[in-house]
């Protein structure tokens, strides 16, 4: 009974996101370790560590600059923050030349989240920028600061491409201008290193229904996994991915006996942008404790 309580409590607290669902799709064991057991495993995820970190930081700075611009800080105040780093400066220039975005009319919601319920659990989408067009349309922008441009099929296969428009269609009830029809939603991946080559997906009612079925199936699978786990022991091991290439970029490789040295990849395209803020979603800074 105690285990049952734990499982129910976990499900009721956890907020599913595209990245946690992607983890489950990639490797059930990784999902179990990262989210269900919240098990830290301090091995190197991928090499070279410092370069990868620098690249991620540059991506964060780009996101922050765009956010600042979208909340109305003057360009003249922002420009110096992009200078000094050639990559960032180039991305920033590309952003400033992104006329399709700047000319798009409508209310802008930068760094905006929506949560909806599906299969009795919560599902969150964190948008880099959501533009609510006056005519009732909505455009989701997602900045991908990759060095390489993955093919459209790669984006299409990512759960983010399903989760983001789906959550907007379901949870946008209280948005300014009212709920959005699935057919009025577009999602655009924009890569500042490849500014002329965005990847766009136009949403539809059909696609909404397919996504709902696919996401529900994934969530039911997770529920089933949890049920089986709880009827045996909470630590029973979930299946390891059959694709061992993934393990090269996964910090649990030693725990799973799937190798010792981390794979080499600067981009996160190999990816798992693990979302550590999924639990409870509080995003505060540390506070002075007792």
């Amino acid at each position: 009974m105690a285990v049952e309580r734990t499982r129910t409590a976990w499900l009721s607290q956890f907020v599913f996101s595209q990245s946690s669902l992607q983890d489950f799709a990639d490797c059930e064991r990784r999902f179990q370790l990262r989210y269900v057991e919240a098990q830290p495993w301090p091995a190197v995820q991928s090499e070279p560590l410092l370069e990868r970190e620098l690249h991620a930081e540059r991506g964060d700075r780009f996101h922050r600059l765009v956010h600042r611009h979208q909340v109305g800080i003057e360009l003249s105040e922002l420009a110096p923050y992009a200078a000094g780093d050639p990559d960032l400066a180039a991305w920033w220039d590309a952003y400033l030349s992104f006329v399709d975005l700047h000319r798009l009319p409508g209310q802008r919601l930068p760094e905006f989240s929506l949560v909806t319920e599906l299969e009795g659990v919560r599902l969150v989408a964190k948008y880099d920028l959501l533009v609510l067009e006056p005519a009732g349309g909505a455009v989701i922008f997602d900045w991908k600061t990759y060095h390489t441009r993955p093919p459209r099929a790669w984006f299409e296969s990512r759960l983010q491409t399903r989760v983001y428009p789906y959550v907007l269609a379901r949870a946008g009830r209280n948005l300014p201008g009212g709920p959005r029809d699935a057919s009025s939603i577009r999602m655009l991946y924009w890569l500042p290193a490849f500014p002329a080559d965005p990847v766009e997906f136009v949403y539809s009612q059909d696609r909404f229904e397919q996504d709902e079925a696919a996401l529900s199936a994934l969530l039911s699978q997770i529920r089933q996994r949890l049920a089986v786990t709880s009827s045996t022991a909470i630590t029973a091991t979930w299946p390891l991915t059959p694709d061992e290439r993934r393990c090269r970029f996964c910090e649990y490789r030693s725990l799973c006996a799937r190798g010792d040295v981390a794979g080499i990849a600067v981009d996160e395209v190999i990816d798992s942008d693990f979302d550590s803020s999924s639990l409870l979603g509080l995003s505060d800074v540390e506070e002075v404790g007792f």
């Binding site: 734990t6 091995a43 929506l114 995003s283 506070e287």
Partner: protein
């Protein structure tokens, strides 16, 4: 403002439930969730709101923005930094700020304090380096949350000291001087510790018209819960935001205020009621109808100085209490464990039991956990922190670190090497680990010799399998010396863990607890690198050594299970009493340990700072007298005891130990109050 309401009442009177219902009603009326700001004093106190939005009837939309003032300040500074950096006087305003944690702030201050310690200015008080650093950071935080300058902090501390012996004022001055130099260092390097974030937010960002416009466009509704635990600058913030809001709901617990030590200002926050159109006073449901309610009202009256016959309980309050008295400490622990086992046997879920003490030392914590586990009862413990170097897995990593960096000249004793080998080489028992360490380790040079050259008989005794693993580890450490100049400390620790120690056959392979501890070590090393060496290093060996020294000095704290993980477990909860209160959790049974101890009545010894004097409501020119100390302690005890009783559903179990650790009979103020409650005819003490 369309509607503003102030709800006040004690714990259990449904205030937070009313606040959640208020938020729910706003959402039902079509208010977008992103327009609602929920302000709490600590993240743990935001949990009820997070739980509420997980219920099935909660409307879809944006997640609730449940935030502390610190969180709001950090977010605001991060986003609007270009607007304030220049005006706030940072040397390099075009560079992004770096946010310091408590831990990384300590690293920096550690660099400044050495010179002061050498000067002997702290010699008149018995205080460790880490305490000087923490209490100085505390002075900075108190200044920020009260809106004081550092000059005011210094003046208040010295004035309150009065004409007691003269060694203390120089100590206060030294701490404030350290704070000033730390602040200057932060300004020079765009570093923002907690206090600087609050200061920048209050003094600069809130005065920035663009921030005000953004805030007014973003938030239309404010809910501030547990106001009594919040700091004066939060009241300033609420007044600042007030006119731009459509609704506000302020919630206040009149008997709480447990965070006075962190700068909470219960009386100042109560004044916010004057802003509100409606003020609602609440009482607990069914007041005085249960023994526990009778117990809390009787205790309140006694702690206010009333006589028992004046407190008029409608029901016998002793019915909610059980008392067990023992002569010695171990007997008391036995008695508590027996009683818990009986409760669990009778069907009480372990998660409905809390064992509380004013301080929870390691030995008591481990003893209780072990004894409960012997009876098949799970227990989890929460202490705020403990030094990371005290965790065995972290110790082993640090020992191996010194072996990987022989040029530091730090050569650990054989015993440490044996301990590390025993932990990381799976088949080694302590005796073989000791044998191996004695043979292969050369303490003079800090180097490890090869297993292959050991005599075959001894190899056999140690076992070839262990030898193989030892050789693998040794080769890795030797090979690492090539990479050492280019590897920061976190990289070294991660690689050693991932490539060797957690591989199959090694000691940490499936050791999840070691994984947790070492993850914290790696995280602390990563923060150290990012904050102290943001531009990298030509050679990482020296910074790695600096990191090692900081860990050894105990400046790194290990965190325990997250609150979420703790609360999911159906386990007896062991915690210091204040920690339990700040979790705002209600249980069926509470055990109060060692109620005869005067520690229940004492406050933390902090010779460099003062929680009561560094408060906006305290007169700047007043001396802190023994009378004031007495009343402050009595008030703190009252809040503590009432807070605990109100978070109990069935029974409070008191454990008394007649003889304290020093062998003297214990009769602390809490015990005196309890005795007066149970035996009204007994002579009345002086509390």
């Amino acid at each position: 403002m369309n509607r503003s309401r102030f709800i006040e009442g004690p714990a259990g009177s449904g205030k937070t439930t009313a606040a959640i219902e208020h938020v729910h009603a706003l959402l039902r009326d079509g208010v977008p969730a992103e327009q609602i700001l929920i302000l709490v004093p600590a993240r743990s106190l935001g949990t009820p709101f997070q739980r509420a939005q997980a219920t099935p009837d909660w409307p879809p939309g944006a997640p609730l923005d449940v935030v502390t003032l610190g969180g709001l300040a950090r977010r605001g500074i991060e986003l609007f930094w270009p607007l304030i950096a220049r005006r706030a006087g940072f040397r390099d305003p075009l560079r992004e700020p770096r946010f310091l944690t408590l831990e990384t702030a300590q690293y920096y201050m550690n660099r400044l304090v050495a010179e002061q310690i050498r000067s002997g200015v702290y010699d008149s008080i018995s205080v460790r380096r880490s305490q000087i650093i923490r209490q100085t950071l505390d002075n900075l935080a108190k200044a920020a949350v009260n809106g004081f300058t550092l000059e005011e902090v210094e003046a208040r501390l010295i004035t309150a000291w009065g004409d007691r012996h003269s060694s203390r004022p120089p100590v206060y001055r030294a701490s404030v001087d350290l704070a000033r130099r730390f602040r200057a260092l932060c300004q020079e390097n765009n570093l923002l510790d907690f206090s600087y974030q609050i200061d920048l937010y209050a003094r600069h960002l809130l005065r920035e018209p663009q921030y005000r416009a953004w805030f007014a466009g973003q938030y239309r509704h404010l809910v501030a819960d547990n106001l009594e635990e919040n700091v004066p600058v939060v009241a300033d913030f609420i007044r600042w935001a007030w006119d731009a809001l459509d609704t506000a709901l302020l919630v206040y617990d009149r008997d709480a205020g447990y965070r006075v030590f962190l700068g909470a200002d219960p009386s100042g926050m109560a004044e916010l009621a004057d802003l509100c159109q409606e003020v609602e006073h609440r009482e607990p449901a069914g007041v005085s109808e249960t023994p526990l309610n009778a117990l809390s009202s009787t205790l309140a009256a006694l702690l206010d100085g009333a006589r028992v016959d004046e407190s008029e309980p409608s029901i016998e309050p002793g019915l909610a209490l059980s008392v067990q008295t023992h002569r010695f400490f171990p007997q008391m622990v036995d008695g508590v464990v027996d009683e818990i086992a009986a409760l669990v046997e009778a069907g009480t879920p372990p998660g409905e039991i809390a064992v509380l003490a004013p301080l929870l030392g390691d030995s008591l914590r481990f003893e209780l956990i072990d004894r409960l586990e012997e009876r098949g009862i799970r227990a989890v413990s929460h202490r705020p922190s403990r030094a990371l170097r005290d965790e065995p897995a972290a110790r082993a990593m640090l020992t191996l670190m010194t072996l990987a960096y022989p040029d530091w000249g730090i050569h650990p004793p054989v015993l440490d090497v044996a301990d590390a080998l025993q932990q990381v080489i799976e088949p080694l028992d302590p005796i073989r680990a000791w044998l191996l360490a004695q043979i292969v380790y050369r303490p003079g040079s800090g180097s490890l010799g090869s297993f292959d050259v050991i005599k075959p008989g001894m190899q056999e005794r140690i076992s070839y399998r262990s030898g193989e693993q030892y050789e693998r580890l040794r080769s890795w450490l030797l090979a690492f010396s090539e990479d050492a100049p280019t590897s920061p400390p976190d990289h070294f620790l991660s690689r050693l863990f991932g490539e060797v120690l957690s591989q199959p056959g090694f000691g940490f392979h499936a050791d999840l607890e070691a994984g947790r501890v070492i993850a914290e070590l790696v995280e602390s090393a990563r923060k150290f690198r990012q904050v102290l060496h943001p531009d990298g290093a030509d050679d990482w060996r020296e910074p790695t050594r600096e990191y090692y020294t900081l860990v050894q000095e105990g400046l790194l704290a290990a965190q325990y299970l997250s609150s979420w993980q703790m609360e999911q477990q159906d386990a007896v909860f062991l915690a210091p009493a204040y920690t339990f209160l700040m979790r705002n959790r209600v249980v069926d049974h509470q055990f109060w340990l060692d109620v005869g101890s005067s520690v229940w009545w004492e406050r933390l010894e902090q010779p460099l700072t003062h929680p009561y004097v560094l408060a906006r409501s305290y007169p700047a020119d007043q001396i802190w007298t023994d009378d004031l100390e007495f009343y402050a302690r009595r008030d703190a005890l009252r809040r503590l005891v009432l807070g605990l009783v109100r978070r109990c559903r069935e029974r409070v179990h008191l454990a008394v130990c007649n003889l304290g650790e020093s062998g003297y009979e214990q009769r602390g103020p809490l015990l005196q109050i309890i005795q007066r409650l149970l035996q009204p005819q007994a002579s009345e003490g002086d509390v």
